[in-house]
């Protein structure tokens, strides 16, 4: 079963870090990813660019509406995710609780949807 751990954190705090601080944060992320890989839990993950680089697309009627910026202006934005292969939500939460952002932001864990019909195949 795959679980997506969605990382929500304050972007300004991140961009205000010195390059040494940021590098040390990246080290923590890399070491978590490495351990998840060695344990066979790592199924993917990506860091997203900042919301100021976001573009939002909606189609209403025949018209495609394109706006600069994120879908919603929020204090804590989605900044990236891990994809964990785990047996249970509890196990996924154990991994999620080790993502550095949990200490100042929040991590939302959601199971990846499995179609009941596909699951029976």
């Amino acid at each position: 079963m795959q679980y997506m751990a969605l990382i929500y954190a304050n972007e300004t705090e991140w961009s205000d870090l010195s390059s040494a601080e940021r590098e040390s944060m990246y080290d923590r992320y890399r070491s978590l990813a490495r351990e998840a890989e060695e344990t066979g839990v790592m199924a993917g993950g990506n860091e997203l660019g900042p919301t100021r680089d976001a573009t939002t697309v909606r189609v209403r009627g025949d018209e495609t509406l394109v706006t600069d910026g994120p879908y919603a202006e929020v204090k804590e934005a989605l900044g990236g995710f891990f994809l964990f292969e785990c047996e249970t939500m509890e196990e996924a939460l154990d991994w999620a609780a080790r993502i550095p952002a949990v200490e100042h932001g929040a991590v939302e864990v959601r199971p990846v949807y499995v179609d009941p019909e596909e699951a029976q195949l």
Partner: protein
């Protein structure tokens, strides 16, 4: 350039339906998604995507002063919720916008947020 397409949509129309009704609802929507997968596959043969389970399955974890706090429900209490993600390698933002507009959720009242992926 690598892009993430974040699909925000109101899932209340179907997420709480019983399994058989949910399956019927999804079957009705499926042709539009199949058409999208075809277009996405043409643009990027290595496109990947994940659909997330409904908001009732979400948990949020925080650690404050060394203590783990787990709460039920999604992080953002909004009507529209992140329902899935596509990851694509595309030539430019215009192509990402063209494909995002083909995502059925963009047409049904939802929004697609395109974000560059940090390489």
């Amino acid at each position: 350039m690598k892009y993430a397409m974040l699909i925000y949509d109101d899932d209340s129309a179907w997420v709480d339906l019983p399994d058989d009704e949910k399956a019927a609802f999804r079957a009705e929507e499926m042709p539009k998604w199949v058409a999208l997968f075809e277009e996405l596959g043409k643009a990027d043969p290595n496109v990947s995507g994940k659909e997330l389970d409904g908001r009732g399955t979400a948990k949020v974890v925080r650690v404050r002063d060394g203590e783990r706090i787990v709460t039920d429900g999604p992080f953002a209490e909004t009507k529209e919720i992140l329902g899935g993600v596509f990851l694509t390698e595309l030539p430019d933002l215009d192509e990402a916008i063209r494909l995002a507009a083909l995502i059925p959720a963009a047409q049904g009242g939802g929004s697609i947020e395109i974000r560059p992926v940090v390489q």
